[in-house]
Structure formats: C-alpha cells, structure tokens
Amino acid sequence: MRSPIRFERRLEQPKWLNWAIPVVSLIAALVLGAIVLLATGKNPLDVYGRIFERGFAGTRALSGSIKTATPLAFTGLCAAIAFRMGLINIGGEGQFYMGAVGATWAGLAFGGDLPTGAVVIVMALSGMVCGGLYAAIVGVLRAKFNTNEIITSLMMNYLAAIFLNYLIYNSTSYWRDPESRNFPAGKPISDRADWNFYEIGGIKIPLAFLIAILAAAAIWVLYKRTRFGFEVGVIADSPKAARYAGIRTTSTIVIVLALSGALAGLGGAADVGNFRGLLDSKGLQMSGYGYTGIVVAALARLNPISTLVVAVLIGGLTNAGFALQGPDFPSGLVGTLQGLILFTAVAGEVLVKYRIRRNRRIAAVAA
C-alpha cells in the first residue's frame, strides 16, 4: 500500500516556521472546532464571534483575559522549562495548588505585620518553595529510580487536590475560615497582603503578570546564555552523550523539575495574592490551569517569551468561556478547543521536521 504523500526530512529549519506553525495550528484548531460545533447544531461563526468579543474586544475584555493569562503564563513556563529537557512534567496542576497553599500560609502569617512589599516577596517565595519541593519529589524518583515522571507527576495532582479538600473541607486547618461552619471556605488574607494592579492604557495589569514577564526573561537567559542551559540542551538531545561529557544528569533532572515546580508554585502564589485572596479549593480545581499550561507551552513551541503571548491568547479564550457559560454556550467547549489546539500544535511540529511531498512514481524508484 502506497500513500499519496510522503515526508521528506528538512535539512534546515527556516526561521519563519517559528511563527508560521503556531498560527497555522491555531487556525486549523478553529476549523476543527467549527466542525464539532456544526455537528452538534451550533453556529460556529456566532460562537467564535462571541468568544472574540468577550475575550479580546475592548479594555474590559482584555483586562479579564490578562487576569486569566497570568496563572497560565506560570503553568506554561512550568511545562516549557521541563519539556525542553524531555521531562514531561504534567504535575503543574498539583504544583500550582501547593504553591497556593504555601503562599496562603505566608499571607495569613505575615499579612498583618509586614509592609505590603515584604509580604508579596514572602508569599511568592513560599509559593515557589512549596511548588518546587513538590515537583522535586518527582525529580528525585525519576533521577534515582528511573520512575516514569509522567505518571508520578499526574498522580501527585490528584494527591494535591485531595490535600486541598482536606485543608478546606475536612479539617479545621489554619487555612480554613473558622467562621465558615456550614459553607467551608478559606480564611481571607489581610488587605495588606493583596498584590497590586497597574493600569496601562485602560487595561488592568496584575503585578503577577509583570513577574511572569521577568520569569520568562530569566528562563530565556538561563537556557540561552548559561552553562547550565547548555548542559540541559545536551541532556535533552542525548542523555548518553551528556553522561560521557561529564554532565551530572541526575542532579540536573532534579533541579529542572524543582525549577519547573517553583514556576507553577509562583503561579499559585499569584492566584492567591493577586486574585482570590484565600485558598479556594474548589475554584482552583475547576480552573485546571496546570493542564491548560501544557497547551500554552506546546503552542509556544516551548519558547519562554512566546509562552507569554500564547498565554494571553488562551487566557482570552478561557476567560470568554467563563463569561459566556450558559445554556447556549455549553461547558466543555473551551476544553475541547484547547485540546484541539494542542492536537494541531503537535501535528504542526511535523512541518518543522519534514516537508510534505506528493508521491510520484519516479520518487518511488529513486527511494
């Protein structure tokens, strides 16, 4: 059986592919999504129009989208930094929760005493440490016992979710509001622990988004300009070669996963400090920022700077989804679209590696 097309490996990868492929992927995902919508009796143009309107048209929509984009930027960076080394950390979700737990603790403990700036720093650090340590467990298991990090990191998402439920619903923990006896809720942190917003051209930019920009720049420098980044690149290309070259692969695995988790944890801290102001077990679990972060990283082709841009795009989509949810905008649609985007983004990677050619008879003889 001969297929009508064949793949020809590219000898070099032109620069324009870097932006062309994500754009084509996004368009393809929207077309596939339109098919799903048509098949279930919805008007795709109408649905997409409303998504655009609620997600991107006007300063209010953009403010909302950047708000949703902020956690996604962190979880996207979390996925990107690990995937770059071939470590599939899909535990961003759980690491995000743990970061929120750590930051809420810091906010509750110090929010009353320290000045705002110091509280923000303590919360951010506490979130990073909690997320980072949580991911480091996965790293140690991978480095010491060669345990598949995909499944362990995912299992730890479920464990973290159960831990959140325990803290808020099934115990009288430090995180739970003692006055919420019938409707369990988190204890709010003091106003002094609230992170700032800045208004630029009518759009409200949360402090955490600015931190995400700094983090992305730092990662870019780390991977492009330092010895550590170079070593990570070698390990990603060939672990064997790295070992022969004397690079310590085991400790690098743990460090990269801890960094990855710290980024997700920072996102969790931002979620508490900038947006929710308390540990919101149910809200965190419903948002699924960790999983969406994987979509963001894949569409950004694991580049930290593009991750920010893609986070705003996907944030707009997600934000519109929250806003529009109702009888004629079924839940699950946004998740479906995100999944389709991930599909087309992976499929698009083929075009980076190969050229697609029509199969002619002569080609078959030559092969």
Partner: protein, 319 residues
Amino acid sequence: MNSNIFVIIASSAIFYGTPLFFAALGGIFTERSGVLNLGVEGTMLLGGVTGAWASQHVPGSAWFTVLAAIIIGMAAGALTSTLLAFLCVTLRTNQTVAGLAITIFAGGVGLSSYFANVWKVAEAPVDRQVRRLDVLGWADVPVLGPILFNQTILTYLSWVMVVLASIYLFRTRFGLQLRAVGESPQTADAMGINVVKYRYLHTILGGALAGLGGVYYSLAIVPTWVDGMTKGAGWIAIALVIFGFWRPSITLIGAYLFGALQSLSSTLKARNVQISGDVLDALPFFMTIVVLVLVSTRFAHRRLGAPAALGVPYEREER
C-alpha cells in the same frame, strides 16, 4: 457470612477492578505495538458519555439497548484512538504530547463534558444498566457467591479476554509479529510485517477497550453521568500496564488490587470505620506511585522490560 467485610472488599475489588482491567488490556495491545497512549482517561470518558447517551436513547428491549450502548461506547473509543494513531503513526508526532492532547480534548472538561451538556445526558439517570447477575443462582453461596457469581456480564467477559489475549500475544503468529513491531520495527519491517497496519489496528483496539472501560463506569458503577466520572482511572490503567509487565494475567491481578483500593473508601464509610476519607481517597494514587517506583528499579526492568520501541515513531526512510 457474606456481609463479612473481607467478602465485600473482594467482591468490590473485582467489580471496580474490571474497568481498570479493560483499559489496561487496551494499553497492553497499544504499547506492545510500540505506541504509548496517554489519552486513555479521555478515551474512557468519551466511551462513557456516548454509552450513557445510547442507554438513554436507543429504543428496543433493555438488553438490546445495553448491548448497543456497549458497542457505541467502544466505537467512540476506537474513533478517538484512531486520531491518536494518525498523529503518532502517520504524522510521527511526539507520542506523549499527542496522548495528552487526547486527554485534554476528550477529558472531564473537554468533549465528553460538551457532549454530556449538549445531549443533556446528566439530566436523567442512566436507567438501562449493566446489572450484577446471579450466575447459576449461586450469588448467595457463602464467601464465593458474592465474589465470583454476582458480577456483571462484563466481568465474565473480561475473564474470557485474559485467556484470549494471552493466547493471542504469546501463542499466535500475529501476537509474535505484534511483539516484533513493538521491539524492533526495523526488523519487523524487513521481515515483511506491515508496521503501520499493526500499530493502527492495535491502537484502535486499545481505544475500543478503553471505551468499554468507560461504558462500565457510566452503565455499571454510577447510575447518573457526572463529568470526569472516571476520576483518574485511565491514568491508573496506564500504570497498571507497567505494573503488569505488559502481560494480561498479571495486569488482571493489579487491576483487582487497585479496584479494592478504589472501593475501600465507600465500603469502609458505609460500615462506619473510623478512618479519614481523604486518606482512603488518596490511597490508589499514592500506591500507584509506590508500585511504579518498585517496578522501575533496574532489576525489574532487566527481567521484564517494556517493548523496546515504545514511544518511538517509526521512520522507514531513516533505517
């Protein structure tokens, strides 16, 4: 006697372990061909939601409706994994990300929830269920009755499948060729085996079995559809494939162990045993990690390793 707690746990271990086994058996076929399917969770949910829809809407006698629901759920699973096969085999994409894409696309907040919403599946109970049988009238026999003779037809089907799958994998030419494709596609290709065909067929078969596992959830375990109702079962199934060293018989045992863990929470709560429900809920996930660490030690790996070409796209031009 039959209300003894150990009898109840053993009986529910099999009851809750059956869908895990279906999904894991599908995983064995898929991975034996060299394709890693991380989309099991999403595939199960799509199977579950289409099965639930069919159970509510297909007319006819009760058993016909249930049969149709099972077939439709399996078909949905097969279709989902065809997509995966297209990405992994034809387009040779990164199999890990492709599988994740399936789970995000089809999963608890994706297409399965969208379908449930559009078709209003969750608004009414799924009345036509796969019920527990009373085989030979022995359901009340002490100890063995509830464990062995009071399961659903699907559990008995799974026992037949263990035997058939083991024979297929280790005693037939097709099984041998399948394993060759998973171990060394180059060699298999040189022997004249169609690598692409084997990978497609077994990925699709794996998806159909995952769909069957999903139908079990919506038609046997929970009488009403809930978004994301498999709650990580698909991921546990992937771990079970590793735990079972890619062999159906060991995987069945593993599935029952995890079935017991999953049911422990509700069983003990019903009996007022004083253990934190959170600890019990966490147990399956925690044990999955423990088990994975144990089987990934170097010793276990050398003796009973994964298919060598697992997760590696096959490129004929680059031999």
